[in-house]
Symmetry: C2
Subunit: 428 residues, 2 copies
Amino acid sequence: MIQNIRKVALLGMGTVGGGVYKIIEKQKNELIHKIGAELEISKVLVRNKGKYANLIAPEKLTDQWSDIIEDDSIEIVVEVMGGIEPAATYIKEALQKGKHVVTANKDLIAVQGHELLELAKTNHCDLLFEAAVAGGIPIIRPLNQCLAGNEITEVMGIINGTTNFILTKMSEEGMDFAEALQLATDLGYAEADPTADIEGHDAGRKLAILASLAFNSPVTFQNVYTEGISKISAKDIRYAHELGCEIKLLGIAKNTEDGIEVKVHPTMIPQSHPLAAVNDSYNAVFIHGDAVGDAMFYGRGAGELPTGSAVVGDILDVARNIQFHCTGRIGSSCYKNIPIKDIKETKSSYYVRMKLEDRAGTLAALAGVFGSNNVSISMLLQKTKDEKTADVVIVTYDVLEKQFMDSIIVISNMSMVKEISSIIRVYH
Amino acid sequence: MIQNIRKVALLGMGTVGGGVYKIIEKQKNELIHKIGAELEISKVLVRNKGKYANLIAPEKLTDQWSDIIEDDSIEIVVEVMGGIEPAATYIKEALQKGKHVVTANKDLIAVQGHELLELAKTNHCDLLFEAAVAGGIPIIRPLNQCLAGNEITEVMGIINGTTNFILTKMSEEGMDFAEALQLATDLGYAEADPTADIEGHDAGRKLAILASLAFNSPVTFQNVYTEGISKISAKDIRYAHELGCEIKLLGIAKNTEDGIEVKVHPTMIPQSHPLAAVNDSYNAVFIHGDAVGDAMFYGRGAGELPTGSAVVGDILDVARNIQFHCTGRIGSSCYKNIPIKDIKETKSSYYVRMKLEDRAGTLAALAGVFGSNNVSISMLLQKTKDEKTADVVIVTYDVLEKQFMDSIIVISNMSMVKEISSIIRVYH
């Protein structure tokens, strides 16, 4: 019956590569029906062939890229090594040879995605990367195809599982940041060097990709403002709850009249918002389009099998496209060039917690500084008080970041202000 | 620059047709970039041409199907009339003429979908119907493509907005069913004859389509067990809250070892489950796959623009496929023929509320009947008591529907049982 075999090379057998391998082996017979051809992993590029001798037939294992790039029977290259090099070089060489590429590499796509998509287009090749954003959650096809009739004005999400796990533990069990991070490390959610997660860089890369797709205009990681969660305290989370909010690390991208805003930062979000209920290591992407209204996509943003699921979905699509001679059908969707706004030019509402000297006139002086910078106060709460200082929480109305920060500089130099303890943006 | 025009005929200008028309008019210039061709609505089939004279150019309006089927320049037929006939005939004639079809018609697809997809395949045509399930929520491409590497074992959801609105009002504001239904009618959420929504038929049609896609095996509306929400009382919702649950009208499809289960019924679901937080007229579809784990898709399941968004997404995909000469690329995904289980052969946990005579031995007799039918009791709560009767709530462990119903027949005939007030299935 089946006369076709579509040959795939897998670059890397780490967590994601292992997941892809397992899924394809398990689903082998099903896939024949789904793509009308047999899918064969004919080469696997690894550093140490001995390590996989028990799992993979020796003739399939190689430590030489030349064994893959020079093998004309291989039509699909699946890059799951991660990192910029040699991944970037391998992908370029594959595309130049007319091989289709599936990658899970967000570091690379967030920086060189636009260039690589152009190269794919020139060579009539598919370059798919569903796994690079929000792991197993289907998001790229929904954006590029299902919602293509929409003008999307906002895409935001919880797109880093490690930090969401940490914030969930802080919120639900009252842990402080260090304790929750330790637990995340012990459970294998956080890496030995957790910087990329904790500081929002990982989320920033995914947001750059999402914003490009949603707004049809190039956005790279360098354009994204990032701020991490290491300064969030148990006290801020308690106060957030009192305000009816949760604190989440959100990636927020908006297409406004005067440009694109792209930022990752801890955010107070009302408990009634669907994203507020996304807990543990789950991810979710929330979209607002002019026709569809609000939509949300929820699931596992990382892990061997969820990420493998997204990679395999892409491989099957490429295989189907090859069968139907229509590779390159949906390539780069960036046909605009919208300017990107500096964080200082964006607007937000802010939560500020500070320690003030407890004497007459302090609040009036504070309100005066905010007022002269056009910062309107929506709420002022005087919290715990000891002999001489008071813990004060202020929530502002929406204001330009520049004006808010100008007022904070003045306030932090006032003699009655003992400490600006924390500043967190609030999403309405 | 643009040498191509893809011509579309719209059958129907009701709610959905109007939405499709508006979106395409608004996005005209964007769509050129997205599909590489201009999209033109060249004919609109309506019953009363006079009604649309102000909106649509007279040469585009027609009340004759022959004007469309005989026009060879029309490549895409968009059926948004609803109902079985003449929609079914028009779709068949269009496919036989090699025209591609996009439809939002769940009534038709839930019954004749498999046959129509075969016809599309024979004619190398696309037949897309994203809008037929969960309105604007992208779900068909995610299932058919993004998650194609998964064995999906469960798909369930809140797929009727009217009943979800009613249950939300009952849960949040303590309304009873009649009051909430009246509000839904006043707000235009419920139709003049709300039977199809209230009795779960609308949800059943969508579930049949979802199950077919998820399990790659034909499931039609006739296979779906349906039970509506008209018997749900404010008291049951109060008790559900006490048990940490919400009551939702769920469509539940499972692929089990001995066959497919497909059922729509009011369900108690733990408040911690993501579906429990889906409120008002929002819809959500929850999926479990062996690789991706749990995933959920949330958004507007109905309405002019959300449903229009899904239809337009499909039209753009067909247009792209025409540009790349690869229509018919993803057709029927039903390559299996899995038996479908009768509701009596399915398992569930049950909540039963009943009025009992308040005398010694009543509970023991009850427990005896359950026990002899292999029904294990997980919880028994004695609620309000008046002089002679007690309101008793029992929650069972998972049990075969057949065995549970056998025990209920015996119990309802016992002299000390004054009334079986309600029976609601419980989802763990």
